[in-house]
C-alpha cells in the first residue's frame, strides 16, 4: 500500500444516500481474478445506458469533474456487500478519498487496506460540500483535518492505527505476522480446539 499524507483536489458530488456496493461496481463484473482495471466498471449502470452509451446526466461523465480525486457522497456510503472490488474500482478510477456523514463498516475497512481514505464529517461540513461540487479542498492525514476553500478546518475521526498505516504505507499482514509467537501460544493454550 502506498503512503498517503496529504491530498489536495477538487470534489465530485453524489448526493444520494445509501449508495451500495452494487452501484459502485455491479456483481456481474466480479468474475475477475485480478484487482486491476476495475475503474472502467465504476458506477457502471449509472454511467452508461443499457446500450453502452454514456449517460450524460451522470456526474462522472461531466467533463469539468474529470480528474477530481475526492468523492463526496450522501449518508451511509458503501453499504451492502463486502466486495473489495468497490474500493479497487474507485482507486483505479482515480478517487483517493470518500467523504460522507457515515460510511459502511466493511467498505471502510476495505478502503483503508488499499489507501483509500474514508472520511466521516459533521453534517454542517457535509452539507457545505454537497452544495459546492468541485470545491478545492485539502486533506491532511497527520492532523486528520479537511480544509475548505474559505479556510475553515474540519476535524474528522479516524482510528489511530488506520492513520498510522496510511501515513506510513504499512502492510497490515506484516503487522499480524510480527505476532507469530502470540498466535502459536494462543493455539497451544486455548481451552478448546475448533
Amino acid at each position: 500500500m502506498k503512503a498517503l499524507t496529504t491530498l489536495s483536489s477538487r470534489t465530485i458530488v453524489l448526493p444520494d444516500r445509501d449508495i451500495d456496493t452494487d452501484q459502485i461496481i455491479p456483481a456481474r463484473f466480479l468474475t475477475t481474478t485480478s484487482r486491476d482495471g476495475l475503474g472502467d466498471k465504476l458506477f457502471y449502470d449509472w454511467r452508461f445506458d443499457s446500450d453502452g452509451g454514456k449517460n450524460h446526466e451522470f456526474v462522472l461523465n461531466h467533463e469539468q469533474f474529470a480528474n477530481h480525486r475526492i468523492l463526496v457522497a450522501g449518508n451511509n456510503f458503501g453499504c451492502g456487500s463486502s466486495r473489495e472490488h468497490a474500493p479497487w474500482a474507485l482507486m483505479d478510477y482515480g478517487i483517493q478519498a470518500v467523504i460522507s456523514t457515515e460510511i459502511a463498516d466493511i467498505f471502510r475497512s476495505n478502503a483503508l487496506k488499499n489507501g483509500l481514505l474514508p472520511i466521516v464529517v459533521d453534517p454542517t461540513t457535509h452539507e457545505w460540500l454537497i452544495n459546492h461540487p468541485g470545491a478545492d479542498i485539502d486533506i491532511d492525514v497527520e492532523s486528520s483535518t479537511i480544509t475548505l476553500p474559505n479556510g475553515d478546518v474540519a476535524h474528522y475521526p479516524i482510528d489511530s492505527f488506520a492513520r498510522y498505516c496510511l501515513l506510513n504505507g504499512v502492510d497490515q499482514l506484516g503487522f499480524i505476522q510480527e505476532h507469530q509467537n502470540a498466535i502459536e501460544h494462543f493455539e497451544e493454550n486455548r481451552p478448546w480446539k475448533p
Binding site: D16, A27, T33, G80, A104, N110, L173, I176, Q177, P194
Partner: protein, 469 residues
C-alpha cells in the same frame, strides 16, 4: 477476589478469541476458528500468498465451496454443467487450482456437499456456537444464528486469515434487539427481519453487533434464526447473534463435523454458557412487537424501504431517496404493491433456500399453478437440500405448478451466473437485496418471504400468503 463484570454473548466470544487485546494505538488480533471461502472473493488473496511465498496457516480450519459464479441449470451430470461466460469459468477453474495448490478442502462442482457458503457451513455442522467464523461475503452474519461471532471481510482480510488465521479488529458496539410476541400464521422470520430493518434503517446497526433476544426468537427454528441473522448486514450491522439453546443443539447433533460422544456432551456444556449475562450492558436496545406483524414486502431499492403486504406505498414527495426509488421501481405512492403485476419469482439465496423455506412455499403451491407470464425459479441452497426436498417430493410440486427446479447456487440473488430477472422486469424474491440492478441490469426487486413469493407466483402480482393458509 474481584467479581467479573456481566458480559454480552458477543463479549464472551470476542474475549475467547483474543490473541492480543486492543489498545488505543492498535486493534486486537482476533483468532478465526472457521474460514469459509468461495470463488469470487479469494483469487486476489491467493495471489498475495503466492507473491509472498506463504502457505495457508490452517488448512484444517478452511473450507471452500463454489456458489456465486456457478450456473443452476438442471443437469444430469456435472460434466454437462456449462458455466456462463469465460471469466466466470476461469474463476471457477482458479478456485479449484488454488485449493489444490494450497491443500484446502473444496466442495467442487461435482460434490454432493456443494452449496451456498452460508448454507453448507451449518449443514455440515462446521458452524458451531462460540466459534469465530469469517468469509469474504457480507452474509457471513448468517452463522451468528448458532451463537457464533460471524462476519464478512474483504479480500485483503481473506489473505490475512489464510496466512495467519487472524484478523485485526476493533471491538464493535452492541445492539440488543428484543423481539416479543407470537407470530401470526403466514408471518415468518423473514418478515420479522424486514420489519426490523424498516424500523431501524439500513444504517441502524452500523458499528454494532446485534444480539436478537426475546421469546419470538427463542421459539424460532434454526432456519428462521439464520434468515434473521443473515440480514443483519442489511441494517448495516457487523454481525447478528442468537444465543444457542436446545433448538440449536438438536439441529447440530449428529451432523458431519460436530464432536461425538463425550466430546459432544462437553461441547454442549460449554455452549450453554454462551448467553448474555442478566445484567450485561448493551450500547443500544430496540424493542420489536412481533405479534402484530403482517407479511412484509419491500417497495423501494434498499431493504429498509418496507411495508406490510397490504399497506400502500408511502409518499416520496419530501424525500429524494424515496422518490428516486419509486421512480426506479415504477410503483406509485398511495397504492398497495398487490396491484403490481410481476414477471419473475425467485425462491432461493442464503436468506431463504433451506428445506423449511422450500416446504413453506410448496405447501402453498401444492395443487396450484403459477400465473401465466410468470417465471419462477426454485433454487435449493445446497445439493443436500435439493436431495432432501426431492425425497419429500417438493420438486414435483414446484414443477407441477410450473416452476423451474434448479441445482444449488446463489442464482438470481446477484445476477452473475446466468440467472437474471431481465431489464425492467419485476421480481418477487426471497433474497436479501433489492438494490438497483442487483438481480441483473434494470431488474426491479420486491423482497419477501417464501410464502409471499409462492402466493405472488400464483396470482401474478404481489400477494398476501394468508389467503392460502
Amino acid at each position: 477476589m474481584s467479581v467479573e463484570a456481566p458480559r454480552t454473548l458477543y463479549e464472551k466470544v470476542w474475549r475467547d478469541h483474543l490473541v492480543v487485546d486492543e489498545t488505543d494505538e492498535t486493534p486486537a488480533i482476533l483468532y478465526v476458528d472457521l474460514h469459509l471461502i468461495h470463488e469470487v472473493t479469494t483469487p486476489q488473496a491467493f495471489s498475495v500468498l503466492r507473491e509472498h511465498g506463504l502457505p495457508v496457516r490452517r488448512p484444517d480450519l478452511t473450507l471452500g465451496t463454489m456458489d456465486h459464479s456457478t450456473p443452476t441449470t438442471p443437469v444430469r451430470s456435472f460434466r454437462d454443467l456449462e458455466i456462463v461466460g469465460e471469466s466466470a469459468a476461469n474463476q471457477v477453474r482458479q478456485m479449484q487450482a488454488n485449493c489444490e495448490e494450497f491443500g484446502l478442502e473444496l466442495f467442487g462442482l461435482d460434490s454432493s456437499h456443494r452449496g451456498i457458503v452460508h448454507v453448507i457451513g451449518p449443514e455440515q455442522g462446521a458452524t458451531q456456537p462460540g466459534k469465530t467464523i469469517v468469509c469474504g461475503d457480507s452474509h457471513t452474519s448468517t452463522h451468528g444464528a448458532f451463537g457464533a461471532l460471524a462476519f464478512g471481510i474483504g479480500t485483503t482480510e481473506v489473505g490475512h486469515v489464510l496466512a495467519t488465521q487472524c484478523l485485526l479488529q476493533r471491538k464493535a458496539k452492541s445492539l440488543a434487539i428484543d423481539v416479543s410476541g407470537t407470530l401470526a400464521p403466514g408471518v415468518t422470520g423473514k418478515d420479522v427481519i424486514l420489519a426490523i430493518i424498516g424500523q431501524i434503517g439500513v444504517d441502524g446497526g452500523t458499528g454494532h453487533v446485534i444480539e436478537y433476544l426475546g421469546d419470538t426468537v427463542r421459539t424460532m427454528d434454526m432456519d428462521s434464526r439464520m434468515t434473521m441473522c443473515n440480514m443483519s448486514i442489511e441494517a448495516g450491522a457487523r454481525a447478528g447473534m442468537i444465543a444457542p439453546d436446545d433448538i440449536t443443539f438438536d439441529y447440530l447433533e449428529g451432523r458431519a463435523r460436530v464432536p461425538r460422544g463425550q466430546h459432544w456432551d462437553n461441547a454442549v456444556a460449554r455452549w450453554r454458557r454462551l448467553v448474555s449475562d442478566p445484567d450485561a450492558r448493551f450500547d443500544k436496545t430496540v424493542n420489536v412487537q412481533a405479534d402484530q406483524l403482517q407479511p412484509m414486502v419491500t417497495f423501494g431499492t434498499n431493504p429498509g424501504m418496507v411495508i406490510g403486504v397490504n399497506e400502500v406505498v408511502p409518499d416520496g414527495r419530501n424525500d429524494p431517496g424515496i422518490r428516486k426509488a419509486l421512480d426506479y421501481m415504477q410503483v406509485e405512492s398511495g397504492k398497495p404493491l398487490t396491484e403490481s403485476a410481476i414477471d419473475v419469482v425467485f425462491l432461493g439465496s442464503c436468506t431463504n433456500s433451506r428445506l423449511s423455506d422450500l416446504q413453506q412455499a410448496a405447501d402453498i403451491l401444492q395443487g396450484r399453478k403459477i400465473a401465466d407470464g410468470v417465471t419462477m425459479l426454485v433454487v435449493p441452497g445446497s445439493q443436500q437440500i435439493k436431495k432432501d426436498a426431492e425425497a419429500l417430493g417438493l420438486d414435483k410440486i414446484f414443477e407441477a405448478a410450473g416452476a423451474s427446479w434448479r441445482e444449488s447456487g446463489c442464482s438470481m440473488c446477484l445476477g452473475m451466473n446466468g440467472d437474471t430477472v431481465g431489464p425492467g422486469k419485476l421480481s418477487v424474491s426471497t433474497s436479501n437485496r433489492n438494490f438497483e440492478g442487483r438481480q441483473g441490469i434494470g431488474a426491479r426487486t420486491v423482497l419477501a418471504s417464501p410464502m409471499t413469493a409462492a402466493a405472488s407466483a400464483i396470482e401474478g402480482r404481489v400477494a398476501d400468503p394468508r389467503s392460502y393458509l
